[in-house]
């Protein structure tokens, strides 16, 4: 059995760990609140965007725009993997990277070339060791990013897409549903998914609107921005999910520390008890020996 001092040291260590996990939990919860707020603030913009886009694409020939058109032969696929920059958030990053690896392997098996774009350090660290080339990476951005990052990513993707450098773009991100629920989400960004853009033809009030410069003109402005909006949404969601996942992981860790220190205290007490007993036995034994002498 470990000595009393060893056990005591261990209990001290567990308690210190608990302090750290507790602090991390609180930091994560503050960050989660902020991240959620950002999602809230972005929502009116995004919702209005979807509204306009569905409205517009219902009124035009949706295949007219190159960003909407699904290419007949898909030779190369780009996977945008959005993860956290930091670990200690349970299986959050692992789930995302696993999904990306599976998807990449799938696409490769189907005879397509695959390239990866990583946002977030954890995803990049894993993907670096994988056979697929990394086209670009953005690390240490998850704490500070704003809409500019969405625009930057979206614009470069679109330009290369229109140059036929690749034929499909898929984004993998952690969708934030609620504090206790986040899931890995896979979304095709380019070509713009027909189910988001192409709804049933809207009839009737079509002529009611005045368009400036024209339906096609507005659509041409709207579509590229829609890509940015989608990417930005992915970033925001991943950010919130990360903090929620970390909060939960740290909560569990704190609980485990409690349990561990409890059971260690029990071991310590038992050890102390038996030490006292042994000592008493010694004294009694000594006294007996003296008496009988």
């Amino acid at each position: 059995m470990a000595s009393l001092k060893d056990i005591q040291r261990k209990i001290g260590g567990v308690k210190k760990t608990k302090q750290i996990t507790k602090a991390m939990n609180m930091v994560a919860s503050a960050k989660l609140r902020k991240a959620q707020q950002r999602i809230e603030q972005f929502r009116p913009y995004a919702d209005k965007f979807y509204e306009m886009l569905t409205d517009l694409s219902g009124r035009t020939d949706a295949t007219a725009h190159p960003l909407l058109e699904v290419r007949e032969e898909i030779k190369k696929v780009v996977i945008v993997l959005v993860t956290a920059d930091r670990g200690l958030c349970g299986s959050f990053n692992v789930n995302l990277t696993n999904k990306a690896r599976r998807l990449a392997a799938e696409k490769e098996a189907a005879g397509k070339e695959v390239e990866i774009i990583c946002v977030g350090k954890k995803g990049r660290d894993v993907m670096r060791k994988q056979p697929w080339p990394i086209r670009a990476d953005h690390v240490n951005v998850m704490n500070t990013f704003d809409f500019t990052l969405g625009t930057e990513l979206g614009t470069s993707l679109m330009n290369s897409y229109l140059n036929h450098e690749f034929d499909e773009v898929i984004i993998i991100f952690g969708k934030f549903i609620s504090f206790s629920k986040q899931e890995v989400s896979v979304l095709r960004v380019l070509p713009i998914a027909s189910e988001t853009a192409e709804v049933e033809d809207i009839q009737g009030p079509a002529s009611e609107y005045i368009y400036e410069p024209s339906v096609e003109g507005i659509l041409a402005e709207l579509l590229p921005r829609f890509v940015n909006v989608q990417i930005y949404r992915g970033l925001l969601d991943t950010n919130a999910s990360e903090h929620a996942a970390r909060m939960r992981a740290m909560d569990n860790a704190t609980k485990n520390c409690d349990e561990l220190s409890k059971s260690l205290t029990l071991v310590y007490n038992k050890a102390r008890q038996s030490a006292i007993t042994t000592e008493l036995m010694d004294i009694v034994g000594g006294a007996e020996a003296l008496k009988s002498a």
């Binding site: 913009y45 209005k48 517009l56 609107y209 005045i210 507005i218 921005r225």
Partner: protein
């Protein structure tokens, strides 16, 4: 009181404005346009420039870049990538941005992205104009 139209301006980061106003002048893609209460349904792409609205006899200016405006049922919603109230504009920063852009255009280096720099210049100028208009 004069008739009003509801104006709402949202950007990715915030809801900048939600107010009842009397008149809106916006920088359309093909030039300025004005919107009065009870305007017909209207959807427009916006350019870079300054949007203004009249409320209680005062004119307010807002810098806008990259957006859309939708008018329907006496409400105008503006979606803009960037929107700043004139009071919020950092004039010094805009001036520096302008100088930077002008210098780059003058030097005509091959590696600069001409369109990007020009857009930056345009934004800086529009910011300064917005600020000066409201002063």
């Amino acid at each position: 009181m004069a008739k009003t139209i509801h104006l709402e301006i949202v950007t990715p980061d915030r809801k900048l404005l939600s107010e009842d106003v009397e008149f809106i002048g916006a920088p359309g893609f093909n030039g300025e346009f004005g919107v009065l209460p009870d305007h017909a349904p209207f959807l427009a792409a916006l350019g870079v420039g300054s949007l203004h609205y009249n409320k209680d006899g005062r004119k307010h200016w807002i810098f806008i870049s990259g957006g859309f405006a939708e008018v329907s049922s006496n409400k105008m919603s503006v979606l803009a990538e960037v929107a700043e109230r004139a009071e919020e504009i950092d004039l010094e920063r805009a001036r520096k941005a302008r100088e930077r852009a002008e210098k780059r255009l003058e030097e005509q280096k091959a590696q600069i992205d001409f369109a990007k720099t020009q857009a930056a210049l345009q934004r800086a100028l529009a910011r300064m104009k917005t600020r000066n208009l409201s002063a």
